[in-house]
Amino acid sequence: MPLRIFKPEFSTELRLVYADGGVRAGFPSPAQDYVSATIDLNKDLIEHPASTFYARVVGDSMEEEGITEGDILVVDKSVEPHHGDLAVCCLDGEFTLKRLRFTSADRLYLMPSNRRYRPIEVTTENEFRVWGVVLYTIKSNRRRRPGTERW
């Protein structure tokens, strides 16, 4: 499969130039001949800017599906939550990141992805609301250099 390179252009709009020239041996020339379009992740991924918030993951409850501490969540408050969605939930006054599982018996479970945690059944005893649905998870594939905020 041909690879595509997205070369960043550090303008204020965070626009990334989409270079259509395929991958060459060595490194791509900074003066790509085949620049045909730009990608602005703000525009392409964020459908509802007014209701989109960024959050950072703390803890390990979703670790087995690869969501780990430090990942950035793109959360949209305006979309309707569905079965299977990853959601930022408010349960009894606390935020929790879980997958929603609606069962046929009209029950709702908050599902962790970590065997060390149990699913939580949401009942009428709980104060519960879906704060927002996580549309994307942004993950760094590098480790932070110890003791710094830098990569």
């Binding site: 007014a50 993951v57 929790t96």
Partner: protein
């Protein structure tokens, strides 16, 4: 019909969006330097705690009340405000922002719509999209819409939306509203009205029009007309001062397409706002610029947006406010749009007497120069007429990108400030 949408306890609600643990707890927001209470949640109001109570008195008098206090977080409030306005603009063709947490909606041409159901749905949509609870009043005039919004806020039975459509509803609402609570009737006028036996809004509306004009001039007469269902106050073109916010906005006679043209308009509105700040001896933390296309021209591409810039050290100098307003404009300007209206809002307004300087970026010499320039402008313009001397448009590079010093400075300046949940990556965490 006109709608007035008003955020419920705006500052407190902004804080609560990111603190679900505070959903039913008493919350206050403090003025700059944590001086006194500037915003109270419903629970705090129910405890009988007055607005503007000094913070130390609050701590002394209500030691075990469980009140949670926040320092003002203007960055968060400006961001939440622009989100609420953006959702409104997506759903209503003509939105005029009136203060940081209020907007007028032009609902003409919606006669075929069930406004009550539509309004309830709009409020639900805003709250679901942004987390901000809002109330909506709909009535034949802006002044009546304001009255209606208070009812929508006060009585849960309205489900956030109160429509004042019939004569009976209007009379009843005005009878239940004190004259002093009417938009445009201040405390001073209310005292005079009381002398004439006018206590409620209804008493005022029942007075003879000529009598009102004789005693309270054309502004009083306008309020009288509005209360009687006649829409005569147009916020467009009115410089409004409300709730620690100053807005200057105008419609253009034609339409503008060039950034350079918009720049000079925005610069003028910003200069007006800064003049108003100086006149009342206050400074602002946030400058917001907004632009709008002509929604009546459905044949043209539609676009409206707003953006803001914040100051580390609050200011009222023309140079800085014009610069910030144009920097905000640059970030939202789009080619190929015919713009019909633009405006500038300054918010996070505090007294100019006790300005807290930012430790790292404050340059006393530069600051003094800018103040001197502004004072000279005011003197010349005061003598020679408004806008006799104006600034050339300043280029401005926003310096707020230095994350570390911002954080540290905020920590020392405003001890109880919440994180900038919406504008700083990592401030909002989910476990």
């Amino acid at each position: 019909m006109v709608g007035l949408i008003d955020c419920d306890n705006f500052f407190c609600s902004c804080e609560r969006v990111f603190r679900p643990d505070l959903a039913h707890k008493p919350v206050v927001v403090l003025s700059n330097n944590d001086g006194c209470v500037v915003a109270r949640s419903r629970e705090v109001k129910a405890m009988g705690i007055p607005d503007c109570l000094p913070y130390y008195q609050l701590m002394e008098r209500y030691p075990n009340s469980g009140i949670v206090a926040f320092s003002s977080n203007y960055t968060l409030y400006a961001d939440m405000s622009s989100r609420v306005m953006a959702v409104l603009r997506e759903n209503v063709p003509d939105v005029t922002q009136y203060s940081i947490d209020e907007a007028f909606l032009d609902l003409n041409g919606m006669d075929h719509v069930d406004l009550k159901a539509w309004g309830e749905e709009l409020c639900r949509k805003v709250e679901r999209s942004t987390g901000m609870p809002v109330s909506l009043g709909i009535a034949p005039s802006r002044t009546l819409a304001k009255v209606a919004s208070k009812f929508a806020k006060k009585y849960p039975g309205y489900r956030k939306c109160c429509v004042m459509a019939t004569e009976e509803q209007r009379v009843k609402a005005l009878q239940l509203t004190a004259a002093v609570d009417v938009w445009g009737i201040g405390r001073r006028i209310a005292r005079r009205l009381e002398y004439y036996g006018v206590r409620t809004a209804y008493d005022f509306a029942q007075k003879n029009r000529g009598w009102v004009r004789g005693k309270f001039h054309v502004t009083g007469e306008r309020t009288w007309q509005e209360l009687n269902g006649d829409s005569v106050i147009d916020v467009d073109g009115l410089d409004t001062v409300a709730k620690q916010t100053i807005v200057t906005s105008r419609s253009f006679p034609g339409m503008l397409t060039e950034l350079s043209d918009l720049r000079s308009h925005i610069a003028n509105y910003a200069a007006r706002c800064s003049l108003k700040l100086r006149r009342q001896n206050s400074v602002c933390h946030i400058v917001t610029a907004f632009i709008q296309s002509n929604h009546f021209r459905e044949d043209l591409p539609q676009y409206s947006n707003s953006a803001y810039r914040s100051f580390l050290t609050p200011t009222n100098t023309t140079t800085e406010i014009v610069g910030a307003a144009n920097a905000a404009l640059d970030s939202i300007f789009r080619q190929g749009i015919s713009y019909k209206r633009a405006g500038v809002m300054v918010s996070g307004i505090t007294s100019g007497d006790a300005v807290q300087h930012d430790l790292f970026t404050y340059d006393p010499e530069r600051s003094e120069k800018l103040r001197t320039v502004s004072a000279a402008l005011d003197r010349v313009n005061g003598k020679m007429g408004a806008d006799m001397v104006v600034l050339g448009i300043q280029q401005y590079r926003d310096k707020g990108a230095d994350g570390k010093s911002v954080k540290f400075v905020n920590a020392i300046r405003r001890a109880l400030k919440s994180p900038d949940y919406t504008t700083r990556l990592g401030a909002f965490t989910v476990g």
